[in-house]
């Protein structure tokens, strides 16, 4: 396990030095259904989300990544194994671990501003301060002009930015992002990567980001967790040592990025091979492609 490195804490106005918001999962297991319909989704899964780092988890779609998020967020509990945050076991959802969902989970009946203010209002705490913070965040994500619009009036990219703001106002210790840019077109997606990376680099909180996109993973990650196909466990951890701030061009230019990309592709191919013998249809597609590629 990597040790905590002090240089990840960046001093600055917005930066809050967080002591240790480290999530440790050890030997998690999760099975859905029972009897002949039992389906083991997570098996013997262990990993660490290190504090003040951006950990990206990548795996084929349909593997148990979303289930892992449900567990970490506390919406569901594991059948066995330990899941701790700062040494304390995780029971139930809490505002210290905030989830950003696939697609958008902005409340359609609230304006952008009300959406951002939802967290503080729901907890009824520090409303005055929160209102100021909301203004600040609106400006920061460039949505001042859209504060009184409903989510359906925003473009996909704007919705994601509003969602980032809605999460950040709660100052979570850990931010969990479940394929947050899925469904955006590639160009908006790349802009969102840069945007999100900048936000992260400003205060370097603990972030846990789940994706199926190799480029996205390499561009964003400090640490990359590669997951196996069903039942899910951790396959490999790669530390991504491309210096920050990164540029989209790095994905093309940087020889290290290319190396990592090849490595990740190979690993995912192997996973597809294994699950093919398990009979997954999605996996058959992967096998098809990656076997050609490997040759």
């Amino acid at each position: 396990m990597n040790t905590y490195s002090p240089d990840t804490v960046v001093p600055g106005a917005g930066a809050r030095v967080q002591e240790a918001s480290e999530i440790v999962a050890s030997n998690l297991n999760k099975t859905y259904g029972a009897g002949p319909f039992a389906k083991t989704v997570i098996k013997d899964c262990s990993f660490t989300i290190e504090s003040n780092k951006l950990t990206v988890m990548i795996g084929p779609s349909g593997c148990g990544k979303s289930t892992l998020i449900q567990l970490i967020a506390g919406f569901e509990s594991a059948d066995s194994g330990q899941l701790t945050m700062n040494g304390e076991p995780i029971v139930g959802p809490g505002k210290d671990r905030l989830v950003l969902f696939q697609e958008s989970a902005l409340f359609p009946w609230m304006t952008t501003y009300d959406n951002i203010m939802y967290g503080p209002r729901a907890r009824g705490e520090g409303l005055k301060e929160a209102a100021e913070q909301a203004e600040f965040l609106l400006a920061k994500v460039g949505l001042e002009a859209f504060r009184d619009k409903y989510p359906t009036q925003l473009s996909g990219g704007m919705q994601r930015r509003a969602e980032l703001a809605r999460a950040m106002i709660n100052k979570p210790e850990v931010m969990i992002l479940d394929e947050p840019f899925r469904g955006l077109d590639n160009m908006s997606k790349e802009l969102m990567w840069e945007y999100y990376a900048t936000l992260y680099e400003e205060d370097r909180n603990t972030n846990f980001f789940v994706t199926t996109d190799i480029d996205e993973a390499i561009f964003l990650a400090d640490r990359l967790l590669i997951m196996t196909n069903l039942p899910t466990s951790t396959r490999t951890v790669i530390d991504i040592d491309i210096p920050r701030p990164r540029k989209i061009e790095d994905l093309v230019h940087n020889p290290r990025a290319n190396e990592i990309k090849k490595e990740v592709m190979t690993l995912l191919h192997e996973e597809a091979m294994k699950s093919f013998s398990g009979g997954s249809k999605a996996a058959a597609d992967f096998l098809d492609a990656y076997s050609k590629r490997a040759g």
Partner: protein, 295 residues
Amino acid sequence: MHDTVLNTDAATSQGPEVTTMGLTMYRLSTWLKSPRPYLMFIGFAIVLGFWYLAVEVWKLPRFEDMPGLTEVFGEWFNKDPIYGLSVYTPEYYTHIGISLRRIAYAFLLATGLGVPLGLFLGWSKTFREFIFPLFEVLRPIPILAWVPLAIIIFAGSESPVVFLTFLASFFATTLNTMLGVESIDESYSRAASCLGASRWQVFRHVVIPGAMPYIFTGLQISIGVAWFSLVAGEMVSGQFGLGYLINTSYMMVEYPKIIIGMITLGIVGFASSAMVRVLGDYLMQWRVRELALGD
């Protein structure tokens, strides 16, 4: 939607050992293990118990005139009924049979006319522009307001009742069919015309099957409103039938028969809409199999 399809890939391909029979047994056993059947039982017990106690034991004010639980069921299953109607008397089945016959005529007629009309309304814009406003003008008039007019126009006591029942079904069927056609994704008909289908072929191969789910939703609603209007029609005019039974029992002060009539109506009504549902599932195999994946 997309996501669930991907996620269930692995689940559905687990193998052929999961048979329909096994599935049914498994569902039955989980149902029995869940609290649901017992809660349901409690629910029935509360209602029936209250009925029994309020009328026959406590004799609450206002309840004293009501027929009691044991009185109704005693009469219903009496070989020698006091008021001349029970499951052992042919008269009971005459009433059911006549109501069913009226429903069958009206429903079949409404389906036979309403489905084609709805399909054409949805398919041809010109046709819709001409006909639909007329439809919209007539629709807000409650079916029951047609009763006297129906009696004037149609001779005898049978056809007015069937006409009213038909009218209610017809509006529901036509409207839902039209909505169904309008809701078909445009790319289906575009794809068909790309593949060289003529306008008529598009109608046959895209419009009809595409609108099918809505047609069957419409037919479910249609059979419900058919019973609704049939009862009203039978109560106002008509000879025989369950609505007539309820009304005459009231006038003859044979109160238990009212409740028997009501319960019978509930059962027959439920059975007829279940039949429509089963027929729909049979005709839309593609949908059943698709939905099974989501389970």
